[in-house]
Structures are given as C-alpha cells and as structure tokens.
Symmetry: D2
Subunit: 338 residues, 4 copies
Amino acid sequence: MLIVMNRDATEEQVNGVIRTVELQGFTAHPIPGGERTSIGVLYNQGAIDEALFRSLPGVKETLPVTKPYKLVSREFHPVDTVVRVGDVSIGGDSLTIIGGPCAVESEEQVMAIAKHVKMAGGDMLRGGAFKPRTSPYAFHGLGEEGLQILAKVREAFGLPIVTEVMDLDCFDMVENYADIIQIGTRNMQNFSLLRRAGHAGKPILLKRGMSATVDEWLMAAEYVMTEGNPDVILCERGVRTFVKHSRNTLDLSAIPVVRRESHLPIIVDPSHAAGYRDQVMPLARAAAAVSAHGLMIEVHHAPETAKCDGGQALLPDQFDLLCRQMRAIFDVSASAER
Amino acid sequence: MLIVMNRDATEEQVNGVIRTVELQGFTAHPIPGGERTSIGVLYNQGAIDEALFRSLPGVKETLPVTKPYKLVSREFHPVDTVVRVGDVSIGGDSLTIIGGPCAVESEEQVMAIAKHVKMAGGDMLRGGAFKPRTSPYAFHGLGEEGLQILAKVREAFGLPIVTEVMDLDCFDMVENYADIIQIGTRNMQNFSLLRRAGHAGKPILLKRGMSATVDEWLMAAEYVMTEGNPDVILCERGVRTFVKHSRNTLDLSAIPVVRRESHLPIIVDPSHAAGYRDQVMPLARAAAAVSAHGLMIEVHHAPETAKCDGGQALLPDQFDLLCRQMRAIFDVSASAER
Amino acid sequence: MLIVMNRDATEEQVNGVIRTVELQGFTAHPIPGGERTSIGVLYNQGAIDEALFRSLPGVKETLPVTKPYKLVSREFHPVDTVVRVGDVSIGGDSLTIIGGPCAVESEEQVMAIAKHVKMAGGDMLRGGAFKPRTSPYAFHGLGEEGLQILAKVREAFGLPIVTEVMDLDCFDMVENYADIIQIGTRNMQNFSLLRRAGHAGKPILLKRGMSATVDEWLMAAEYVMTEGNPDVILCERGVRTFVKHSRNTLDLSAIPVVRRESHLPIIVDPSHAAGYRDQVMPLARAAAAVSAHGLMIEVHHAPETAKCDGGQALLPDQFDLLCRQMRAIFDVSASAER
Amino acid sequence: MLIVMNRDATEEQVNGVIRTVELQGFTAHPIPGGERTSIGVLYNQGAIDEALFRSLPGVKETLPVTKPYKLVSREFHPVDTVVRVGDVSIGGDSLTIIGGPCAVESEEQVMAIAKHVKMAGGDMLRGGAFKPRTSPYAFHGLGEEGLQILAKVREAFGLPIVTEVMDLDCFDMVENYADIIQIGTRNMQNFSLLRRAGHAGKPILLKRGMSATVDEWLMAAEYVMTEGNPDVILCERGVRTFVKHSRNTLDLSAIPVVRRESHLPIIVDPSHAAGYRDQVMPLARAAAAVSAHGLMIEVHHAPETAKCDGGQALLPDQFDLLCRQMRAIFDVSASAER
C-alpha cells in the first residue's frame, strides 16, 4: 500500500503514520517528493484496512499496490493450468465447447439435445438439475432426478457433464454425479460454498459475480484453492451495467486480463450475457476471437417449450454453424500469440 | 406483459404470437394502433419468459407490465408491517437506530461499545460473529464464542441483537442467539438460505445485493415470506457503480420507492455504503431525511485496533452527536408526510 | 406508451387518465385485465412526458412502447445505408479499417504511420488536429496545421481522412479538410454541433457517449439526419461501468442491436475502449467477429514518444497482423448471416 | 505516479523504466520491497500517460498518485470560495435555494412561479430559454424571448436568474441576461464552452456529467478557472447506474468528497436526479442533510401543462413545505461541523 500525505502534513503527522504502520507489524518506507511525502508499506501479509490509514491526521489518500491473491496468481505459478476431465481438457491452447439446455426437463429432452451437441462437435454437456431463480414461483429444477438423467446421457454419448450446485446441503449429491461442478453467479461470494468446493474431488467452474471485479473473482477462486482443490475454471458471463438492450454486458477485456494475471483457464457464457438468441452467436464468436479457453452455450431443440430461458437457447442448426465458426476464429486468433 | 409487433408484421405473424400466448395458458389481448399492433398478455401467474416471445417472427419488443412479487407488495397488504422485538419495533412512524462493531472481537470490546450505543440512545446492538470476507486470509469472526458474547451483552444492557448468518450449517446456531438474523449483501440471492430464513422464528434483516434492482430485492424477500416468515426488514447499503470515491453509491431513492411498493420496513446502512468515516455522518443524516425506518451504523471505541473495517466505524462521540441529529431530522422530515 | 393502473384504481381515476391522454391530443385505448386496467396511448408524435402521467391519481407505472427515432430506423428505411468516400465505402457487406495516430504531431510522424497503414491494407487514415482532453494542461493538437498535414498525407497515399471536430467555431475549417468528420464521445449530445453536422457536405462519424443508451445514440444521429445529412456512421467505443481493468467496457452487443434497429453502418474503436495495448488486439478481433462494418484503431511507429495515448497505440507489426486476422474473422462470421 | 514492477523483473528492466521516466524529464525514485520493486515518479507537471509506462517490459501496474487539478484544489486555496450575486451568496455556511420551471414558456408562467418561489423564501430563480433535449422533435425553448421574460421577472421580484447556455453561438446573449450561467450535464466536457465560460464576467454553475468522476468534474472546473473566472459553482444531479427506478442515482457522497478536495461551492439538483415528483422531496431533504451549499429545484404551478419535465416539478405548496424542511435540516446538520 502507498499512503499519500497532504502537501502541508507536518513531520509529526508523517511520523504518526509511520508508527501506526509499524504497530501493525509492517515496514514503512517514506518517499520524500517535490510536493508531498508518500509512505510505502512493505512486507504486509494479507489485506490492509485502507480506510483506517486514510483516517489518520495528515493523510490524503491510500492506494493498494500489491494484488491480494497468491495461489491463483501467474506470478506464483507461471505455467497455464490445464483441467482434465477424462479425454477432454480445458485450458492451454485448445478451445473447449460446452453445450446443453438451461435446465434438465426430461430424459428425452436431454438425450435429444446431447445428440445435437455431440454431432456439432461439442466437448461437454451442460444442464441444470438445481436452478437458482429470481422468483420463488418459477421452475427450480428436477433435483436428483435431473442428475440421474444427466448420468444416463453421459453414458449414452460419452460427454462429460457440467452441472450447478446451489448450496451446502446438495453438494455431496452433485459432486457424486457431476464431472465439473458449477458455482453460479449469485454464489460467487458464498464463501461457505467456496470452501466446500475446495474439498471437492472434481473441478469447479466458477462464474463471475454480476458486479464482481476481476480481483474479487480471483479471490473467490483463491478460497477454493486454499482448501486444496487446484482445478478451478473461471467463466465470464457478463456484468451488470446501465445498458438494457442485453441482459448483461459481456466484459471481454476480462479474458486478456485474467490470462495475464492468472494461470487458471477462463471460458465465456454468451447465453446469459446476451439473454436474447440473436445476440448469442455474435458474442460467442467474439469470445473465440479474444482467445477464451472455451465457451458454454445453451442449446435447445424446442425452445418454445423450455421451462427456463428458452428465448436465449440456440437451435441445433445454429449451434452447429456456430461451432464451426468459433473453431475457425479461435485458430485465426491464436496466430496472434505466436 | 406487452408484446410489440413490427410495423410491417403480417396478420399471420400476429396470429402466431396470439397462439403461442394461448398455448402457455394465458389470454392474449391485441391492441391495434396507428403504426403497429401490440398484444397484451393477461392472466399470467408468475414470470413469463420474455426472450421466448421476443424471438417469434414479427415481434419487435416485449415489455413486462405487472410486478412479479405478491406477498411483499403493498397492493396485497396496504398497511405498514411493523416488526417487533421485545420493546423495540422497526417500521411505521418511528426511527430505529442500531449501532455496534463490525465484528465481535472480545467481551470487553462489545461491552464497551454497547455502553456507548445505549447511552447515545441506540435501540439495538449489531455485531458479527460470522464474517464474510473477500479474502480467505482475513479475520472471519469468532463463531459461537462471538454469539455467546453478544448474548451476555444483551443481558447487561437490554439491547436486542442483530447478527449475520452466513450459511445453512450455522443457521440453527445463529437463530438460537440472535433477536434479528441478518442476511448479507452477497447472500441476497442465496435462495437456499432465504428459504431457510422463511422457517425461522426470528425476523430477517435482508441487505440489498450489490447490484440488485429493487424488484430483485423484493423477490428475495418474497422467498422468505412464501415460506411463512412475515417479518422481513429491508436494508439499503449502497450499490456498485463507476464511482470510486466511496466504497459503494448509496441509493437513497430506493427508500421512497420501496415504501410505495411494499409494506415492509426499510432501513439504511451508511457505514458500508461510505466505507470511510468522514462520509458516514452526512449519509446517515441523509437516510433520516428520506424517512427510512431506521439506521444501522458501525461504532467502535478504538477503531485503530479493530480487526475489521475500523476505518469506517464512528467514534462514540460522533455516534452520540449523530443520533441526536438523525432523530431531529427524522422529525422534521415526517412533517412532510402528514 | 402504456399506462398501468393500480389494482384498486377507481373508474373515476381511469377516466381521469383517459381525459388527460385525450387533452394532449392522443388516443387512449383501455385494456381491462384480470388484476388491473392498463391504458394504451396511441397516435402520439414525438416523446411523451412519462413522469407527468405517472403522477396522476391511480397510476402505478408507465412504459414507453414505440421507439422515439424515425429517420435512423430500419423500419422506415429497410435497406442498409452504405457511406461512400471516394473509392472506399463503409456499410453493407465489407469490413473497413481505419488506422492512424491519436494526434497529428508532425508531417514526418503522420507520413511514417500512414505508410504502415497503407501497407497493412488499411482503408482510411485517422488523426486528430483538435484534441479534447480531460486536462487543460495537456496537448490539445496542432489545429489547422494538423489538418494541412493530413491533407498532404492523403495526397501522398490516397487514404481518405477521418478527423475530429470539437466545436462550432472550427467546424468550417475541419469540414474543408476532412473526408469524414468525427464527433467525439463527449460531444454526442452537443446538440448544436449535431445540427451543424446535419448541414455538412461530408459524412459524420458519431461516437457513442460514455454512458449513452443505444436509443440516445440513435436520437443523436436523428439530429444530424433531420437537418439533411443522410451519411452518419456510428462508432462504439466502450461505455463506463464499475470495471476498472480496462479504460471502458466495450459493449459488443450494441452491434447486433444497432444493425437490427437501424440501417446506418456501425464501426468499433477498440483502442479507446481498451486503453491498454495488450487488450486492443483481442477486442479488435472480437469486433470483427460480431460483424461490425469497420474498425478504427490507433497505430504509432514510436508510441513512447507520442504526445497522446501512446500506451494504447499498436506498433506497425501488430497492426499488420491484426488486419489479416480481422479480415479472416469477418469472413468466417459473415457465413452466419447467409 | 507509482510504477509497480513484476516480481521477477530484471535489474535491466528496472533500469529501462527509470531511463524512460528520466527521458520524459521526471525524477525516478526506486523503492525496493520484499516482493518486488516499485518506482515513484516525482516532479511531474501535468498528466502522465500511464498506459505508456504500463507497456514497458517488466511493468505490472501503474498507479496515479497526485490529483491532476490545481486551481480548484483546497490544497492550493484552503478557504471556501463564496460566490456573490447581488445580495445573494452561494458557498460558506449558508443554504441557497434556487427554484423555478424547467423551461420558460411564457411571461405569465414565469411570473406565477417566481411569486411562489419568492414567497417560499427561495433565493434565486431558474428557468431555461435554451433547452438541450434528447429528441430533435421536442420543445427546445423560447431563445432570446425567454431570456427577456426572465429579465422582466427578475425586475419584478428581485430574484437573480440562473439560466443555461448551450453553445458558443448563444454565449454572449446568455451572458448578457443571466446572473449565473449554467453549463449542463451533457456539456460538462465541452471544452470549448468551458474555455469561453472562463472569460465570462458572470459565475458559472457547472453540472456534473452523467458518468463523470469527481476528478473529471473538478478538471472541467479547472478549465474555467485557468481562463480567469474564479466563480464556479458545482452542481451534483445524479449519475447513470444500472438502477432504473429513478432517472439517475443521486451521488450524495460526492458532497463531502468535493468539500474536502475543493474550495468551490457545491449544490444539488434533486429534480433531475429523481425524475419523478414523489422522489424529489426526500432527496432534496437528503441534500440539505449532507450539507450541500444549496439546492436547485423545479417548481411549476400547473405541471400538467408544462412543455418540459412537468412530472418532476413540485407544486407550489410542496415547494413551500420543502423550503422550511430543508432549512431546518441544514441547521441541524451544521451542528455536526462545529
């Protein structure tokens, strides 16, 4: 942290700040300047309460300098993490495509959709058995029955399964069936759930919170990693802004930023970012163009009957075309990094 | 919902939309206009998938018309809900002041602060035994020991206790000690926790999510109420915006909006909104001026030693002055409503 | 507009609203519903003061239905507008690339950069002679001397020139030299400047305001078109959000939305959206992937000496690679539309 | 500025950064730390191009340290600026109330409203003769006729006049009639207009841009002051956020922040922040509670006939009650500062 003093701060005030820094067990490094003195705080472990220093006499401002995360940081782990699930991997130099319905509704439905996903060259199947919904009156998923359907479909098509966990109570059950356990946007800072995820034997797909900074998101991944689970996949899905023509605003600059800051793989969910079918395809292509490690896209063979978010699901033909476009764009884009 | 057709939509397209509306069990009411046809959707229960209708041929736009909540709505329950805890009440025509530390650190600490809160005329005591923190390396609270300290202090000063619950696992324990159970910002859409709160025998203080609309917030309260708990207190604590000079941007217009839409009491937490001590007092006075039903404010007798958010806690003298100011302002403001 | 009445609105209140609608010269169309009455307002020309109706007794809410723009709307002009400048065109099925420095600094500088732009296959040259800057102490451009340099470089390389106009006073001068006149982000709602642009004999490149909705942006274009200038090119350049890892958040969903709503061409400026060089290339590729009609990108042969925004300018080699990537991605993406 | 190096930055990279700092004429002050080296940049005049340094090899991040403004800063001018207009003043220890219609519509209208403003104890009259409107089809004001009406009303009631200037062309005319010249939200970074305002012989009321940071707003005031006009009044009027229940989100924390950073007076416009009449009164009281130096509020005696923003204008009785409430709250709040 850097503590910036007022122009007219007295020596006594500067010394008072230095004493407080040292009382907290840190080292103070004063930097005399033309206009004012600043004080660097060194050797701190963990977060410092900025507001505390800002309220000391003579202090104008405080600025955080070092990033608060460690295990997720590329500085501590320079090589890309590649998460492997059976034959499929996420991370490194390939593009992984996950397709499937928003919610598991029936065996027939998931079978029909999985067939299309497989034929289009999708790598994994998504589908929710537990659905967090804004309204208590909406469809909340089939629960364990949904997980059993997913397991059957995996059997039939050899597609690994990504499905969401909503709370501590159903974690064991979801962990038992899933290949990758998804933690949703609204749970990104459900710290108890993150700690439990750290003890899971399966990779965690961690969606970005609706108004989370990249730092907060990486700190949420740090929760999972500190408990011992090294396999975290980050998923950008749009943030909330003043813009109302899409459900959320997809923050694609987060992909190069995360790739620079962290070794963890990062994928994109354009379906929830867009919220409308006609925006999903362009945004999915854009995600491939910024070199995301993968995409997770909603597909439905009969969206007008879907119990959840049918209006943002792609039709099988659209998904098929899109897969080909995304892989071509990803290859073109990769030429930039070499 | 209102479905707006394109100017050049064909009769066939209009009829297609009407058929889809009716297939979902709703009633369609076409409104011919000068430029284009619109179609009202009537008699729907619960949410409609807007995006589904927006993707039908000939449809330009869809607009939600009715609000999705029922039990929390003033239309269904015109009289103000007043939540009572012993002799203290929140809601109706009075201003309820809750003060205390961010986190319970020790018995001495809470006793010292509670004494100041009591002397300044505070109505309740706040203090966290379980602390959600952005970093896994930060102080996370004393747990049950903290709850026991709060119980002792309640005994000593007769102040009811507000404390936070973080997950399903510790809910029974918190419910056992607390007078009011707080659900924090990051858990506003932790729907499993909300359902559990609906079965609690204690009132729930529900903080607004960092980027939640008032509709989403009221729907979260609806989750609690549908499970049978009528005592929900809403707490505005600032939303995330592009502004960085305060930790969050306090959305005071939410208070008149919630008071018009809902019968539930609404209070304000200026400490977390501001994040810096010198902004807390003006924002607290502003909350009294918009006729919030109460305030929850962080107070610490020795903030420079606080384990959590010391920089935003008021000193006892500041809290004392502020209580007098807030009550005077609330009285002046109330004259507007009469 | 749709006016939604309270559930318990009286017949008298409904009639009061209808009378007010009719007093304003509009037609009221009441829609009786299960729970409440709504009233459609038909045949209105131009904007209605929503807040006025919302303050009438018995009214719960008002919802705008029709879009406020006409000339820019695809409904009124279904065919894509293609803006032509000499041999170059923007709009329709091609990708137009505009490159160049942030500011014109010297003839040598612009000549050197223009050579690279030309060799990389760029279609036009950008460069500012008048620079709007947040600080009064920053470099504000060379003025007419800068325009003369641009004219010389155009002569030398045959690249049409895009340059910014800052105010009414310098409009004639800029119009005299430029091939396309840029109106910057901070001037998007400088309505006097927009009207003047409507009388210009050159196409207008209209950047989106930092917090403008698509509707407001299209209304700004409508100002230009109502005065008689049909050649408006829209330019997305990122919006302001809570996100701080990039200078702005590029809103790529705006491209499919604008392409559906309007016939005007829309291009993307990834340089100002990103603010940092390492984000410019991925975002530029993403813009090609969402089928923008063009891109405007900052290039500098010696960015460490640039007087303005050197840190976001691409090096010539990067620009060269990027041009090839963008054209390849645009072609792949176009296959979606067919 | 502080330049933070990577953990594994080489000595050569550190020296490269130091050299670049020195090449730009600044002084580099390296700060060795436990984990990494940081480099302070001293003695810089004006803004530094952060992105330039961030793109040098070995650099992890750059942090601005000193604020970019000078003349507006309290550090350079510790005493409150009080702007005087005849007998009325804005700034220091008093609360100044400005009331009036959104737009001047007729002499009768302004006379009727001014009478109410005067009787309620208002200090100044507002009213627009030139109206910036989102739509080219809306009412844009009476122009000079409107200014003449304002002058007559000033004569009749002795109320100084605040009115908006829209562009360079009408500046002389507005300056001729107005007592205080308003620069609107959309023109906050119209730098040509700001420079012209710096040569005006009248005080400038500078509204905050819809998505402007406090730093950018103060820099806009700095433009006016560098040209020689010391009388700038800042006006907070709400910022654009994801929140849609009010037209804008009033950022009341900006008042204590501006009062600490700058000596300039700051007032609040709750009418445009709210957009709906029922929110204006609570927000106006809140503005008095945060110790703003004044308020500017829309009043109309017949809002249902207003040509502009009638739905947010207070009725005369409401304005009268509000004035009494605001003055009482301002007095209570002032006791905090003593």
